[in-house]
Symmetry: C2
Subunit: 244 residues, 2 copies
């Protein structure tokens, strides 16, 4: 039995996230069907994480075991024939038996895009958060530094999670701006449900002056969801790297 | 009666081009309906050009006469409330009676994007031409220079046009590459039906070696559609500027 690690890229606009669910189309379901068409067997897929409806992935890693003997260098092209244009397989590798896309992931990078302009951009409609009000990027950059390190991020998680601990480590959180597009890039060992979107919403509120830079450390420490900013829309969020 | 010049930006993926037609949704129809909802009167819109189904516009200019007294600085925001997320109005100006978006246009710039990579990009699926075979950009750059100047471009026009002359002037035609994305940018005083797409298809064929750089001047002079390259897909084409 081979164990295969797939790297995908997908535009999440048309999907209800990664994980299979009833009555809604998901990336996992589409990928499973494509693999089944290619190999003749329905795979048991492990995905590196659940992504919410509308969230995108520049890099997403999934793994599955198979009896198929298609060589890995031919697998992406073969699979892409069965995948729709908004999902693409960009790499396949044989990995050891113990590799599991979800459990083996050591860290991830997410990128969040905020379009800070008077008018919306039709080309970024489903791919950024259009925020038309004033944003001071320097304030965001200062606030970002308070998130780095190991903290209990329970105040930055949506309700309904079932994890044993809400402590996570953020290795880096950087904010930059090119033209009208603000980029928030965060790398950490794990993220709670909606954590990147709540951090992004909080940083935008800091940039707009709704939250003071000086209060951010205290807000994190308070572990109080109500003191953080809003949950930024899913459209602006991309999973950009997964580390093993 | 005021005469108003609107500047729009739209993602053409979901539209059958600009011009109103039966049984297919077009940008003109959607814009007319939005203006009617805003002003109460159905406008007679003049558009700076017909764009094909699937073609995009970073800048598109349309004009119409109206009795409405909404000031121009408020018009884009007001109109955008009635426009879908893939069409946006970014400017409105009062112009003189004789201005007409179509007839007054002096020149236009189109940009064509070719994604030259092994795998497709889900984020550029409807926004570039994915060409996986080898392309030598330098060859394209050399060939591009032969198109500049005044030529009879009848060999670079799709059948079915009704224009008095097929002579056009190309002021500049530049090819550049950033990562996997090749950008073809052409400015001219006017373009025949499918002309930019046929020039782009020809340049890609030159880059791939299907057409020799040395033959390009001769192909233009031959005025023979069959000697030029294929018509590149609509998805990669953007109207980027209109000059008055």
């Amino acid at each position: 039995m081979r164990n295969i690690k797939l790297t995908l890229s997908y535009d999440g606009s048309g999907y209800h996230g990664w994980q299979i669910q009833e009555n809604a189309i998901t990336v996992q379901e589409v990928l499973e069907n494509a693999i089944m068409k290619l190999t003749g067997t329905k795979p048991k897929l492990s995905g590196c994480g659940r992504t919410d409806a509308g969230v995108h992935a520049k890099r997403y890693v999934a793994s599955f075991k198979t009896e198929s003997n298609i060589p890995c260098e031919k697998l992406p092209c073969a699979l892409n024939r069965y995948l729709p244009e908004d999902i693409v397989c960009i790499n396949a590798e044989d990995v050891s038996d113990i590799f599991d896309a979800q459990r083996s992931a050591k860290a991830k990078t997410y990128t969040y895009y905020v379009l800070n302009s008077q008018y919306r951009d039709p080309f970024l409609a489903k791919h950024s958060w259009h925020y038309r009000y004033e944003i001071d990027v320097e304030k965001m950059q200062k606030a970002a530094k308070f998130f780095e390190g190991t903290h209990d991020f329970i105040g930055f998680a949506a309700a309904g999670f079932t994890v044993s601990t809400t402590v996570r480590t953020i290795y880096s959180l950087n904010v930059s701006k090119e033209n009208d597009l603000i980029k928030i890039e965060v790398t950490g060992n794990g993220f709670l449900y909606n954590m990147v979107r709540i951090i992004s919403g909080t940083l935008v509120f800091v940039g707009n002056g709704k939250i003071n830079v000086e209060d951010v450390a205290d807000i994190i420490e308070s572990r109080d969801r109500k003191r953080a900013g809003i949950t930024a829309p899913a459209d602006g969020l991309y999973l950009t790297e997964v580390y093993y």
